[in-house]
């Protein structure tokens, strides 16, 4: 085992983490990744395997007039060309989305976004499949598109979803949280009210590995094996069973190594279904792997919220209330993945980290002629948008009150004695102690010194900005009484077996896309039953080998599955006690636990290790009544509440006054995710999330032109950050355990993506204060920053 040294990035970070189960150990999965031996969907090669390619719509909105596949079928290597009409005959032209809508698998009537799936070619190799796409003749009758979400509800706007019976507009849902009357009353009597339209533009998760599948349908026994890039293999299996009619026990979904997901691999894309249809039609395995442009143009986007924010406060800076009306652009199909009760996810966490008298939000979802989705890194549950809104509004208020933004936040935090804290929109925050976290970030940053430096620079005409964000997340969905997706409760299972020689295998229902599950979950078991993490194999990603559960997204693996793993290990530990008692010919209550071993109270030399107990359980020990001859257990964990990680981020930027170019000079991130398991993995997650956040703040944007053409269809146009755009991250932490999680852990996967964009934008706006800039929308590209300096800030959409 290699334990890395604890190495704080900033000496002021200090602190001693007491991590769980061997702490900062190197990741067990990394030897195969660093040697190029990871095994991804595209590495899977089955005997006789064919290859699929998708013909996509070149326009955003068009009536499908005709498709002629004759020439493509004549290609010597083409075995099948599947169209919407073919699927219609099979009853498979439309599939349910994760939000109770339907989505076209292949166009039957009308194209609803550019890049939509029109036909599927199956050929002997992927080159031939791609070439044959050009041999399909399609006639379109182009229709005016709905591109601007603000105009989607205009009278006379083209109706996108005329496939839905009785549909006469582009409205999807209205949803609200909080008490409107109470909030309006507080606003009416407040000293200070500030308003701002805040746009969180459409971005894309852009995982390094694009989406793909290998479908292998066995016509003899009717069994489907589906290798997929999915974050939620079990949910996919159930949905495939419901849609395809193949019974669920005949479906095996395998999610091998996944090259990044970030929410992009939660949904079921037409390509997966088409690979299955292709395999059924040809009787051979079919591989489909999308290319980069297909991924960017057609798979799940993130954000796209237009938020009207208002904040009310007393003149001495006590924040009283928040309210917002949101217009949410969901694209052509409502395919976001939200718990059924919450069409806008957990957006109502927008009250943030502050003790408010009232809060109210409304969210209206609309259809536009754009790719569907809304599932992405921090998160599908819309916490990112919520935190961005509140953290920008607090900064705007600070400017209005001429208060330091750090001071304003410190003045309004929920106090530690108020936890568990019931906010005004229905959440119960499990635990928090915000001020020490905020103070630590300020100490690490040298906050007062930075403000002094800024003052001097401003006097010289230099533009330096300091941005703060303090976020509270709600992750680990969720209690089954409140939360389900398409009727499936959001619980997770875990099974633990201790082999006779004392080595273990733990089987989990969540699926890693790079988060380090094979290490983290082994560490949790190691902590609970006292055997080394190297002796514990973590099995995941194969529905034939793992218990049911809803998968990895919304930072739910550690809060939900991590709890399941801790509990199953405790169950095994308790069972071991009974077997040890039998072996030692004593009573279970006379035994005491120390890591890895039960021993006789008062006589520590007499005891049995887990390995000895396992051998005993599988051996010839006379077992007590009701104890079976193994050392195995299973649990399904239904979380009692979500977990509420938080953090304080400070960003320092320098803006070139001549060009508008923003340089992120420093970034200080202090995170509190409760009990820490592997600090190195936590820091890795934070580094990735911060990089993503800087990308969104400065450059990422899926833009459309007036005709609905996607302008972000390749990495030439859709910019993601590189090492050159980010500073050395300075991370620190505090530890406020979750009171309801078995080991006190909270989620961490998305904290940095949630917390960093407002810190960067707040810093840019702060730098531009001499120009009177109060707000600017992302992305803060050089041109947009320069325009803001000219007094011409404009929303990106």
């Amino acid at each position: 085992m290699t334990i890395l040294e604890d190495r704080p990035t900033n000496p002021a970070a200090g602190g001693h983490d007491r991590p769980i189960g061997h702490g900062r150990m190197q990741r067990k999965e990394d030897p195969r990744f660093v040697r190029g031996k990871g095994h991804y969907v595209d590495d899977i090669v089955l005997p006789g395997m064919l290859h699929g390619a998708i013909l996509r719509a070149p326009v955003a909105h068009a009536r499908l007039v005709s498709i002629d596949t004759t020439e493509a079928l004549a290609h010597p290597k083409v075995l099948a060309v599947i169209t919407g009409a073919d699927l219609q005959a099979l009853g498979l032209a439309w599939a349910p989305t994760l939000s109770m809508d339907v989505q076209a698998v292949l166009v039957t009537d009308k194209v609803r976004f550019q890049g939509q799936e029109v036909a599927f070619v199956v050929a002997e190799d992927r080159y031939a499949a791609r070439d044959a796409l050009e041999l399909i003749q399609v006639e379109y009758d182009v229709l005016p598109p709905v591109v601007d979400a603000r105009k989607a509800m205009d009278p006379g706007a083209p109706v996108i979803r005329d496939d839905l019976a009785g549909r006469t507009d582009n409205h999807i849902f209205d949803w609200e949280a909080g008490d409107k009357a109470e909030t309006d009353a507080v606003f009416a009597s407040a000293d200070v009210v500030v308003s701002q339209e805040i746009v969180y533009p459409r971005v894309h998760p852009a995982p390094m590995e694009t989406c793909g599948a290998v479908a292998d349908f066995d016509p003899i026994d009717g069994r489907l094996t589906l290798y997929e890039t999915t974050q939620a293999p079990h949910a996919h299996r159930t949905l495939f069973a419901m849609v395809s009619g193949i019974p669920e026990h005949k479906i095996r979904v395998v999610s091998p190594d996944i090259g990044g997901g970030f929410g992009n691999k939660v949904g079921i894309y037409p390509g997966y279904i088409l690979a299955v249809v292709g395999s059924i039609v040809t009787g051979k395995p079919v591989k489909w792997v999308e290319d980069r442009s297909e991924n960017l143009m057609s798979t799940s986007f993130a954000r796209d919220y237009i938020m009207q924010g208002e904040i009310a406060a007393t003149k001495d800076g006590k924040i009283l209330a928040l309210r917002t009306n949101v217009l949410a652009d969901h694209g052509a199909f409502n395919a976001t993945a939200q718990p059924t009760k919450y069409p806008a996810g957990f957006f109502h966490i927008f009250t943030g980290s502050y003790d408010l008298a009232a809060a109210h939000c409304t969210v209206t979802g609309v259809y536009t002629n754009k790719a569907p989705g809304g599932v992405a890194y921090a998160c599908s549950f819309r916490v990112t948008e919520a935190v961005y809104l509140v953290e920008r509004m607090v900064d705007i208020l600070a400017r209005k009150l001429d208060m330091d933004p750090a001071e304003l936040r410190l003045k309004n935090f929920i106090k530690p004695e108020q936890f568990p804290y019931a906010n005004k929109t229905g959440w119960e925050y499990d635990s928090g102690d915000y001020e020490p976290t905020m103070r630590l970030s300020m100490k690490m940053a040298g906050y007062d010194e930075l403000r002094r430096e800024q003052k001097e620079k401003r006097a010289r005409g230099e533009l330096m900005g300091i941005g703060i964000s303090f976020f509270t997340e709600t992750v680990g969905a969720g209690p089954r009484k409140d939360m389900d997706i398409l009727g499936l409760g959001m619980a997770d299972g875990a099974e633990l077996r201790i082999h006779p020689t004392g080595k273990a295998v733990v089987r989990i229902s969540v699926q890693s896309q790079g988060q380090g599950h094979e290490t983290t979950f082994a560490q949790i078991v190691a902590e609970e039953i006292g055997i080394p993490p190297e002796d514990i194999d973590v099995v995941h990603g194969d529905t034939d080998q793992t218990p049911f559960g809803l998968g990895t997204y919304g930072s739910r693996s550690t809060p939900v599955s991590g709890a399941a793993v801790a509990l199953v290990a405790r169950k095994v530990r308790e069972k071991a006690r009974f077997i040890a008692a039998a072996m030692l010919e004593t009573r279970p209550e006379d035994l005491e636990w120390e890591k890895g071993r039960w021993f006789v109270k008062g006589d520590p030399s007499v005891g049995k290790t887990i390995a000895e107990i396992a051998m005993g359980a599988h051996g010839t020990v006379a077992l007590p009544e009701g104890i079976e001859g193994n050392l195995d257990a299973e649990v399904t964990y239904d979380p009692p509440n979500l977990t509420f990680p938080f953090g304080a981020y400070i960003c320092v930027v320098d803006v070139d006054p001549g060009t508008g170019h923003v340089k992120v000079r420093r970034f200080i991130a202090v995170d509190d995710c409760g009990t820490r398991i592997n600090p190195m993995i936590i820091e890795g997650q934070i580094h990735g999330g911060l990089t993503d956040g800087v990308g969104m703040a400065l450059m990422e944007f899926i833009e459309f032109d007036a005709e609905g053409n996607c302008l972000g269809g390749s990495f030439m146009d859709y910019l993601i950050p590189t090492a050159m755009e980010v500073p050395d991250w300075e991370t620190g932490f505090t530890v406020t355990p979750s009171p309801h999680h078995p080991i006190g852990a909270k989620g961490i996967g998305e904290s940095a993506t949630v917390g960093s964009p407002p810190a960067v934008v707040n810093a840019v706006v702060d730098a531009l204060a001499p120009f009177g800039v109060v707000h600017m929308d992302m992305p803060c590209t050089p041109a947009r920053v320069w325009e803001a300096m000219q007094g011409r800030t404009r929303p990106p959409v």
Binding site: R126, D291, T659, M716, L719, T722, M724, E725, P782, A783
Partner: protein, 295 residues
């Protein structure tokens, strides 16, 4: 994986062999050097050559040497070679400046000066640099070699004077004493195309006035040097007021288009701002080079 349209491929073994292959395969054949422009275009099926003639074995074109009053750069010299050259750093810092902001190390390890110039992308940095340095392009074809000024070589966006059966083989830069040069680019992200960029080369006379100057702009719709600026600067002592006037003229001379990188007025502003910056840096370097010689 993005898949290009079907094509055939052949590796040339020498310049003459490459010319023969171009002749044999005709109009639908394309030369590939570093491949960082052509291959992405093929993968997007924006380019669909029938034949790719790979000239990566033409080591005879991979050189960089100071030859009397001229720096000669073989067409197959990689960006990395240019970036790391001490001769270039000393004689033409504008090239070092530009190479530092061309794409990323992976692209620079493969991409070539010849490929960049022949691609003639309007956001391509070395075209501007070569204009500013008054480089000469040596082009070889069945009828022998032609020497072309940049004005003659570079005909506009994606268009050069190199005929289908010709090959750019060398670029020559005249070395001037008492000179300095500089390049600066604004980009949304490292490796993105320029929003705008500017380059300048300045030669100082013995009296400290500007005896020769050239200013070029990238990605703002100007395929020539900013001659308007040159007329104003020559014979003058370098001053901030002069740079401001030069910047103003540059912003008027250019003709940018609005796109995702920025609106027209921003790009004009950058033409102004960056012209001032590169003139300042080039004059500073020229003055340093004068004092070095005096010592």
């Amino acid at each position: 994986m993005q898949i290009p349209a079907p094509f055939d491929y052949v590796r040339a073994s020498s310049v003459d062999n490459a010319l023969a292959l171009l002749d044999r395969h005709g109009a639908e054949s394309r030369v590939v050097a570093g491949g960082h422009s052509l291959l992405p275009m093929m993968k997007l099926r924006l380019a669909r050559p029938d034949w790719l003639i790979d000239i990566n074995d033409l080591y005879e074109l991979d050189y960089l040497l100071v030859d009397g009053p001229v720096l000669r750069i073989g067409a197959m010299a990689r960006h990395t070679t240019l970036l790391e050259s001490d001769d270039i750093k000393r004689l033409f810092p504008i090239i070092t400046d530009a190479e530092r902001v061309i794409a990323d190390p992976i692209v620079r390890n493969r991409g070539t000066i010849g490929g960049s110039l022949c691609q003639a992308d309007p956001a391509e940095d070395l075209s501007t640099v070569c204009h500013v340095l008054e480089a000469v392009a040596v082009v070889r074809g069945p009828a022998g070699e032609r020497m072309l000024s940049m004005a003659d070589f570079h005909r506009g966006p994606y268009e050069t004077a190199v005929a289908q059966n010709e090959l750019l083989i060398e670029v020559r830069m005249p070395i001037r004493a008492s000179s300095g040069s500089a390049y600066e680019k604004v980009e949304r992200r490292v490796g993105d195309w320029a929003v705008a960029a500017a380059g300048a080369s300045v030669t100082l006379g013995s009296d400290g006035t500007i005896s020769h100057v050239a200013v070029g702009l990238t990605a703002v719709g100007l395929d020539r040097t900013v001659t308007e600026v040159e007329a104003v600067l020559v014979g003058q002592a370098p001053t901030e007021a002069l740079f401001v006037e030069a910047g103003r003229l540059a912003s008027l001379a250019c003709d940018p288009l609005a796109d995702q990188r920025g609106p027209i007025d921003y790009k004009r502003h950058l033409a102004d701002e960056l012209t001032r910056r590169v003139l300042r840096a080039a004059c500073r370097r020229a003055a340093a080079s004068v004092s070095e010689i005096t010592i």
